[in-house]
Symmetry: C2
Subunit: 273 residues, 2 copies
Amino acid sequence: MLDVDTPVTAVPAISGTTRVYALLGDPIAQVRAPGLLNPVLARRGTDAVLVPVHVTAADLGPVVRGLRQMANLDGMLVTVPHKAAVLALADRVTDRARLTGSANALRREPDGTWTADTFDGDGFVRGLVGAGHDPRGGRVCLVGAGGAGSAIAVALLDAGVAALRLVDTDPGRLDALHGRLSPVYPGRVSASPHPLLADVDLAVNATPLGLRPGDPLPFPVGDLPAHAVVADIIMTPVETALLRAASARDLTVQPGLPMLAHQIEAYLEFFRL
Amino acid sequence: MLDVDTPVTAVPAISGTTRVYALLGDPIAQVRAPGLLNPVLARRGTDAVLVPVHVTAADLGPVVRGLRQMANLDGMLVTVPHKAAVLALADRVTDRARLTGSANALRREPDGTWTADTFDGDGFVRGLVGAGHDPRGGRVCLVGAGGAGSAIAVALLDAGVAALRLVDTDPGRLDALHGRLSPVYPGRVSASPHPLLADVDLAVNATPLGLRPGDPLPFPVGDLPAHAVVADIIMTPVETALLRAASARDLTVQPGLPMLAHQIEAYLEFFRL
């Protein structure tokens, strides 16, 4: 894991030789990747810069097509609301991105074509492994079958979990994700409208619950076995009500923030930086 | 004039709120504007960054159209070979850019439309004025009727020179520029295939002669009156053979480099930064 918390004074000096990376989103003001990635690039002496690109859904096509023709632009990061739409703007989509239904990174290949991949789930799994909670062979309950949940589900299955129980209060969304994953990971994926936690090694919140102070818990930590790990994807606040409740029960907790640092690491690998 | 030579440690920290400016050219590795402008922005505390955009002539249209749809991109700088082609990609072109036949800056207006302007000549005139050589009311011989010469010719006429003698060894290019300028600045512009220097206050080299060590002088400094100023647009080397010959004759000299710093100042005004 990259140490993104070390204070840094150097940020990249931009010249004509600097390679450019774009981060596309709408809104854009809140994005954290430029503030995290650029100091890492500067510290490594890499002559590259990540630049925010504010683009609406209506303008995504022309902007991506324009950026693809920029000869010194080697990659794009993609955040809401463009993660699904950007799949159609790449020449090639990795299996996990197609399965997830979204991509958050595109890179220019040596032959000039563009490949889309997703690292939302990858960063999550890297964070777990980095904290000593390798999910391989374990039983997992994943609450939330939206964009983030889909990415984490695919990454957990690719990481070798034995059994993944998907939970969502929206039956349509739940069935859709279950239907996409079951044929690819036969016998390892189940779906349930309610959290079933008694037999799991890892329980994951992939819903927005916990962003606001009054939110209910996404699942009852009291139902978990004593050895279980409770993971949250919420980054702000760092300690959510869910993680506080889990800690109070002496369960191991995995906050959302490490995911971001591990994603930065994954981006650097993907971009061959 | 902005002091671009002061050593600077700060360069812009890029976040999601940073406004973006693009510098378009082909090739791009040699451009100096990012290295000059970004430290100025950082020192002023302006949350904006200039990013190099390498784009071929064939791809200029799609790239500019894409950049125009970037909601956090407020302006573009344009260098060779795109200065003429970019006129067709703006909604509005200033009189001087149309007259010059090229633009090197585009900005987004509050209503979302794009205006193209040129500062190549403006930077030159600002440099002259800043050095105490206001050309207003003077007689000028300008050698070189290409892109740079055209821009400088328009700027000198706009700055109020009484008489501008255009010189170029290519009769077609010379006549074209003379034909464009004469109707707009009646009675003030003449054309000659050879430099006529005996009566001028200012002689300007706007040809590439002086870039290479063995180049002949663009005009014979021995023909100039003792009070004349000799200006060169060549920036590398800073002291050209022309300027050395002029200094040897105790003529006042104006090197090319200040033009760049003054252009940066003009860009900041144009971009309302």
